[in-house]
């Protein structure tokens, strides 16, 4: 029986709440299920003390979670939109990420910040951003961005158990996606990318919702005789450069795709690493696919004009293989 991305996130939370009494959920409206229904029913099942609604106080709830994590809880905090992680950033960057280090290893912050990113259907400039690259620039944070329901399930469970602060980025366009959870699936490792589709002519490196677009693009170019390997990074810190390198040493051509604007995006980091560490393996310029350099506009025609999609990846693959 297939389940949606939302249902499998919920299942992961439900299981971890059951397994470990230290796990607590908090966030705006989480007891009512949250804005997207991810936590629906969990307050009823696990009690209002373990699934707690909060005021609209992103800064304080991030701090609350951090302080609680220092003292034996494993909080899972929901920030409703990644756009509002801006309000919690002081805590996440200056406290959560640095606490272990500043204390010389005395303390740890085992917490997960679940949030949701990306553009879909006119959510507009303040509810559509993809800001993951900020967080890969912060030593001490782990950044996870699952691309499918099954991935989301496994990576969320792993994140909760990890012991370091994790920013767990869901994507609103993936929420309704369905997949069947295989029985006895081993949980993925944090820091291990996955080859979502094998190929030999070009490597498409991507994550989150763009994995779907990359797979579509790979299908399309296959019809043109091009074999694209698609790598789903899964975690953005740590970056699994081994898996990337193995692929690039086979294909020698690279396309990097994400929904965030290219300028200063995660794709820049990957391209830079390749241009540094695998320079001699590259047979073609590295092409990046990303959002055009503008805030996300409201009207569908405008939104489409800035967002990257399957067609952009197809074009980039063709260019890389020209």
């Amino acid at each position: 029986m297939s389940q949606t991305y939302i249902e499998l996130l919920r299942r992961a939370l439900d299981e971890e709440l059951s397994l470990d009494p230290a796990v607590h959920l908090l966030g705006e409206d989480v007891a009512a299920g949250g804005a997207f229904g991810v936590t629906k029913g969990l307050a009823q099942k696990h009690g209002a003390r373990r699934v707690r609604n909060t005021p609209i106080s992103e800064a304080a709830i991030a701090g609350l979670a951090t302080g609680a994590a220092l003292c034996g809880l494993r909080p899972v905090l929901e920030i409703m939109f990644i756009d509002f992680a801006t309000l919690a950033l002081d805590c996440l960057v200056n406290q959560s990420a640095k606490y272990r280090y500043m204390s010389g290893g005395q303390l740890a912050v085992p917490m997960v910040v679940r949030t949701q990113a990306g553009a879909a259907g006119g959510a507009a400039a303040q509810h559509s951003q993809s800001l993951e690259s900020w967080f890969i620039h912060v030593p001490g944070l782990v950044v996870v961005a699952p691309s499918s329901p099954v991935e989301a399930y496994g990576l969320l469970k792993r994140s909760i158990r990890l012991g370091d602060p994790v920013l767990f980025i869901e994507h609103k366009r993936l929420y309704a996606l369905r997949e069947e959870l295989p029985a006895n699936l081993p949980l993925p490792d944090i820091g291990r990318a996955r080859v979502a589709r094998a190929g030999c002519d070009v490597t498409v490196i991507t994550y989150s919702a763009m994995v779907g677009s990359a797979l579509e693009a790979a299908d399309i170019v296959a019809g043109q005789g091009l074999s694209a390997e698609v790598i789903d990074l899964r975690t953005l810190t740590p970056l699994d450069m081994q898996t990337v390198a193995a692929s690039v040493m086979k294909t020698h051509r690279v396309v990097i795709a994400h929904e965030a604007v290219r300028n200063g995006g995660v794709g820049a980091e990957i391209a830079a690493r390749l241009a540094g560490e695998l320079f001699d393996e590259l047979d073609a310029p590295i092409t990046r696919v990303g959002c055009r350099f503008a805030p996300i506009p409201f009207a569908p025609e405008l939104e489409r004009a800035v967002l990257p999609g399957t067609a952009d990846i197809v074009r980039a693959v063709q260019a890389a293989c020209a």
Binding site: E28, D29, A31, A32, G33, A35, N53, P55, I56, S57, E58, A59, A60, D83, F84, L87, G121, G122, A123, A124, A125, Q126, H127, V261, R262, N263, R288, G290, R292, F293, A294, P295, P297, F298, A299, P300, E301, L302, E303, R304, A305, V306
Partner: protein
Amino acid sequence: MRAVIDTGDPGLEEWKRLFGQLWRIRAFEGQVQTLAAAGEVPGFAHLSTGQEAVAVGVCAHLGREDALFTSHRGHGHVLAKGSDARAMLAEIIGRSTGLCQGHGGSMHLVDAPNGVLGATGVVGGNLPLAAGAAWAAQARGKAAISVVFFGDGATGAGIFHETVNLSVLWQLPVLFVCENNGYAEFTSREEHSTVGSVRAFADPYGMAAATVDGNDLPAVFEAAREATARVRSGAGPYLLECMTHRMAGHYVGDAQHYRSREELAAVTAKCPIERMKRRLLGLAVAREELDAIGEAAIREMAQAVADARAGAPADPRMALCHVYGAPALQANPGAGE
């Protein structure tokens, strides 16, 4: 459009006009609801249905030169300030003829010539902007004031308290209007705070403040008259808390499982339009005249939707415009495009 009214009872004709304003907002939001349900409104649509008297009662005291800032639930405020319903609707359905050429949308209405300096989707994010506009007026020696509408939920955000402190300290001409509708999304005020009345937050600062029944148009009108007069006089900021009720869900599509039938019925019974209607009937205005006012508003908004729909869709060639203003930067400095 209309003169700033700042003393006493405005007279029966004005009450009727304001009654019409209530209806215009109600009808406007009705159209947005229909459009949203039909999938014609991209993104999230938050209706102000039930809260019309706050918008109308406060905006009656504002001129075009006064700055207005609002939140995600701002259609009513913008309309009451006198913006064009057609341009608003065109924006809300994403047309190039919209107030913001389709760049903004329902949560980001701006109508600068009318002093509507912006709606924001970040809860509380509009508060310091309004104080900043007030600071600019103060610094430039302008008589204009700044008004910001926000929900009770926004008082949970630190920015509210920071802004109040600064506004009192600098004696800024800003009016804070809190629409206390007892909810933030699906969570009731009791779960958000032990502080029932937002007015209490003014006390530590000694900020002038009042709480008023936000469903009672004359009460809001009178309270806002006092508040705006005081702010205009240079006496510093003012917090006006309007107790009101959301008659609709948090957004169009919200099934409101968290509210009981009884609660919803009680809210409907407090409808500010019905209440004002009873008031005007009591002043011997003919029922037919009042009905006609409502019907005119409904017709106006139906026509506004038709006009908005006739506008050209947003122009994809404009998608990279307005990112920067400086000519050297307009070539779009990001990622080589």
